[in-house]
Structures are given as structure tokens and as C-alpha cells.
């Protein structure tokens, strides 16, 4: 009789009804990339230096372009360079290390103190071979330069005063 009871119990267990609950688990995750706020601080003003237009009666449309990479000036028309402390603008971009960032400029800005028209802003970052994008370095910063073109009216002369672009909006964003 005991043998039968044992057999019945074993049989009931084999049915699975007495085995009890079983469970299966799987672990997974979502993802997100968290970036630091990106910001720009000017460390050197965009400066066209001293110049004038010597065209006189034969004056033609004249410009001075400041190269973003080299900081050197070049002229068109009857514009003439006349010294000063010309140089490209310099900025410190701060943000997440090793991140690409985009940059944009206004179409037009005004210089001071003579309120000349400045356009065609140019961007140069040693970290990225692009005119519109830079890369923040491992230390969390990048130091790009900015150049532009200034229009020189007929008979204009800076009179040995540096012509700078003191105010324009430089926009930096993560793409």
C-alpha cells in the first residue's frame, strides 16, 4: 500500500502540477547621450586694422577680406591697407568633449567705429576641416577663428583707427 502511495505521489509530480511556478527573465536597456551646454566666448575681436580707399575719381567697389585661418588681409578694388593690429576673431567654444558642433553667422553686420558693412563671415577650426562645423576637443573646448569681408566706400579712411566688428551673433549648436 505504501508503495502505491509513493507511486501516486511520484506520478502527480511528473504531471507538472506539483512542480510549482517557473520564471524567465531578460534584462535590457534604453539609451541616451547627454551633452554639456555649448557656449561661445570671444577671446579676440575681429579687427580689420587701418585701411583706406585711394580710388579717388576712379573709385570702384572695394573690399578687404580677413582670412579666418591666417588672419591675413587681402584687398579688391582700390582699397589699400594701412597698418593697424588686424587679426581674425578668436573664440573659445565650450561643450561636450569630442562633439561636433555647427556654427552660423548673420548675413550682414556693421563695423565700428565707422559703421561699414561686413558680410561673408568665415569660420576656421583646426579640429575640423569645414567652414560650418567644428569639433570640441578632449578637454571640452575648441578655439576657432572667424574672418569676414568689409566693404570700403570711396574716399574712406580709417585715419589710423582700427576698424573692428564688435557685435554680431555667432550661433553654435550641436547638430
Amino acid at each position: 500500500m505504501t508503495c502505491i502511495l509513493v507511486a501516486v505521489l511520484a506520478c502527480a509530480m511528473a504531471d507538472g502540477t506539483a512542480i510549482g511556478p517557473s520564471s524567465v527573465s531578460r534584462t535590457a536597456s534604453g539609451s541616451v547621450t547627454i551633452s554639456k551646454v555649448i557656449s561661445a566666448a570671444r577671446t579676440r575681436i575681429l579687427n580689420f586694422g587701418h585701411f583706406k580707399n585711394t580710388g579717388g575719381g576712379d573709385c570702384m567697389a572695394s573690399t578687404i577680406t580677413l582670412d579666418a585661418r591666417t588672419g591675413l588681409r587681402s584687398t579688391t578694388g582700390s582699397a589699400v591697407l594701412a597698418g593697424g593690429t588686424a587679426g581674425s576673431g578668436a573664440y573659445t567654444i565650450s561643450g561636450s568633449a569630442n562633439s561636433i558642433y555647427g556654427v552660423s553667422f548673420p548675413a550682414v553686420a556693421l563695423s565700428s567705429p565707422h559703421t561699414l558693412t561686413v558680410s561673408a563671415f568665415r569660420f576656421y577650426s583646426a579640429t575640423n576641416n569645414s567652414t560650418t562645423m567644428g569639433r570640441i576637443g578632449p578637454g571640452g573646448t575648441d578655439t576657432p577663428h572667424v574672418g569676414a569681408t568689409i566693404f570700403v566706400p570711396c574716399s574712406f579712411d580709417t585715419h589710423n583707427i582700427n576698424e573692428v566688428v564688435a557685435s554680431f551673433t555667432l550661433t553654435v549648436t550641436y547638430p
Binding site: C11, A14, I19, R26, T27, S29, G30, T33
Partner: protein, 177 residues
């Protein structure tokens, strides 16, 4: 002799049951790795991004900037029953529980939400938008689908969290009763 015969019959019957009652297994298929992926977030203040399980729509509480601020793909999981025998041979109840594991750090799961698109539910989902969500579905025949569900979540990013790629984790557990 009669007793021996009875036991032998019982053992044989029992053996037949063993053969036909091979245990079924509940399986959880893998979702898409590391989803939902919220993409890039610029942390300016403590913010929570709620991903809706059904639509993938992301809504934000806070002022952090998410780039781009678009819908995301939510992970879809399928619970299936393979093999014969319990729980696949009968309409057993299968409890599916999703538990947030990462509840602190640079990006943590403040809550979960599920959208069940297939299955015969007998309970739930309960605990929607908390850190533990569960529902109960009836098991299916071998090879059948117990339930299909998508998972959404509230991902909180503290203002101090910067420059990292966290992967907040959760665990899906099925229990057949």
C-alpha cells in the same frame, strides 16, 4: 502479486504522462538593442522625457534640450510558449513584470509604461507610469504567442549629468503560475 501489478500499471501510466507532459517553456524575444534611444540631450536642468510605449512619442517635463525632438522606436517584446506540457498545454496564467533597474545616476528610469498589442489579458497592465508594471495573460498552445507588448519609459536626466552615454536598464520577468 496483485499489489505488484497495480504498482506496475501505475508506473507505466506515470511514465506515459512523463512522456506527454514534457515541460513547456516561456520565452521572451529580444527587443531592439538599446531602445528607446532618446538621442542627444543637452542637460540644462533636471528633466524627464516620457516615451509613450504605443506611439513612441516623447514628451518632456523640464527644460533640457533634446536633439532632435522627434518620436523614437520603442522596444517590442513577444512572449511565446514552446514545448508541450505545462504551461503551454493549458491556459495557465503568465504574469509579465517589467521592473526598472536603473533608478539613480545620470539617466534613470523614473517610470515605465507598456502597451500590449496582442494576447489574452486577465489582469492589467497595472502600475503604469511607476517603476514596476505588470500584466497577466493566458498562456498559449506550444508555439503560440502569449503576449506582444511595447515598452515605454520615463527617463530622468539630472541637471548635473553631462558628457556621458548612460543605458538605463530594466528587467522583464515572466512567471507562470
Amino acid at each position: 502479486m496483485g499489489l505488484v501489478r497495480a504498482v506496475a500499471v501505475l508506473v507505466t501510466f506515470c511514465g506515459m504522462m512523463l512522456g506527454t507532459a514534457e515541460a513547456g517553456v516561456i520565452n521572451i524575444t529580444a527587443g531592439v538593442l538599446n531602445t528607446p534611444n532618446l538621442g542627444k540631450v543637452v542637460a540644462t536642468s533636471t528633466s524627464t522625457f516620457r516615451v509613450d510605449a504605443a506611439s513612441g512619442t516623447v514628451t518632456e517635463t523640464g527644460s533640457a534640450t533634446r536633439i532632435p525632438n522627434a518620436s523614437v522606436t520603442t522596444p517590442q517584446y513577444t512572449i511565446t510558449c514552446t514545448g508541450s506540457g505545462s504551461p503551454c498545454s493549458t491556459s495557465k496564467l503568465v504574469t509579465v513584470t517589467i521592473q526598472a533597474n536603473t533608478t539613480s545616476g545620470p539617466a534613470f528610469l523614473a517610470a515605465l509604461n507598456v502597451s500590449v498589442s496582442s494576447g489574452t489579458l486577465t489582469s492589467g497592465p497595472t502600475g503604469q507610469n511607476t517603476q514596476t508594471v505588470s500584466f497577466i495573460a493566458k498562456s498559449a498552445a506550444p508555439g503560440g504567442t502569449v503576449a506582444v507588448f511595447n515598452l515605454g519609459m520615463d527617463v530622468t536626466i539630472p541637471a548635473t549629468a553631462t558628457g556621458s552615454k548612460p543605458t538605463p536598464a530594466y528587467t522583464i520577468t515572466t512567471t507562470n503560475n
